[in-house]
Symmetry: C2
């Protein structure tokens, strides 16, 4: 297509960069939005613009929110003695959907990976150690994915926390081998949390 | 999540309304965009805003473009004697990717469907008849999907065109039973176009 349809092609190209969308589904999505201009396309443009301005990473836990310190870290209803360590913000959100955990979180931002040259300092592991040392944390729950890298990372963190006066547990029953938290239903996550065992 | 993360939740909810995205992939997409704010999120917001303002349906063929008459209908390089009838704009785009067809298009906007109470007037069938009567069209190529509704619609259009002095053909070889154009590779579409037969 030529110059004046450039806008539409640019939009399709940007949409196709989203995870889970390819060129074909991007085209479908764009045509769908053009049909639902007032109800979907314009509100979506506004929402993206808004979030692009307001979204930020919590300076304490790494959650995504709209303040420097996220609502979970700010909340006085959350137990400060428990920190649940997750790989990604998506995993934190999955835990929250279960509405079971009343402590706080720590988002690593990935897992250790020799292959991808991701060491402890690429993740938010030093910040976790600092929180445990300074914030009166009694329990660290390792809620990492049941993958090789997830479990390697869990063991590494457990080792680092060994000298500190803190109980280290991990999600147990219910997380299938190779399973990723964000794919599990809320009940499974709740059961795994309830049955957590010492690491 | 509470009030101040409302923006992010609203965005996820809007993204989840796109075809091909569910709540989970919408969350993933939003987290991905927040990580790629300058390179993806802001450009996408701008592109959506832009297309929401500029996109329009071609008054002649129903294609989506940025002018009242689309570039294909405007182009002097395109053969005015051939009209290729497709269900959706996505199918038109699929035909164009094949770069084989040098005529013009007519987008129906769907298929006849007793179940969904979609009759000829809900589609752009009257406009097609008018174009054939007034524009010196020699051939109408029915490039509808090889589905029951697609073929019902093709037969209906062929009947309507019978009294007019126009050749009616359809895509033949290469379109699998039950297949939808937009899923086919460009070569298959080109082959089907080349081997088109009288309807
Ligand atoms: Zn936080
Ligand atoms: Zn047109």
């Amino acid at each position: 297509m030529a110059d004046s349809t450039r806008d539409i092609e640019d939009l399709i190209e940007l949409m196709a960069r989203l995870p889970g969308l390819g060129p074909r589904s991007a085209r479908r999505a764009v045509l769908h939005m053009i049909k639902k201009r007032a109800l979907l396309m314009t509100p979506l443009a506004d929402a993206l613009q808004q979030v692009a301005v307001t979204a930020r990473e919590c300076l304490s836990c790494g959650n995504i929110g709209t303040h420097d310190i996220c609502e979970i870290c700010e909340s006085e209803k959350r137990n400060t003695g428990e920190i649940c360590v997750v790989e990604d913000v998506a995993d934190l959100w999955a835990m929250e959907r279960g509405q079971m955990f009343k402590g706080r979180y720590h988002v690593l931002g990935g897992t250790l990976s020799a292959l991808d040259a991701i060491g402890p300092d690429e993740l938010r592991i030093p910040q976790l150690i600092t929180r445990v040392q300074n914030d009166g944390v009694q329990e660290v729950i390792l809620a990492l994915n049941a993958t090789v890298d997830g479990q390697t990372t869990a063991h590494y963190i457990a080792d680092q926390l060994e000298k500190l006066d803190v109980r280290v547990t991990s999600l147990a029953q219910g997380v299938p081998i190779g399973g990723e938290l964000d794919y599990l239903d809320d009940g499974t996550i709740s059961a795994a949390l309830k049955a957590r065992k010492s690491f």
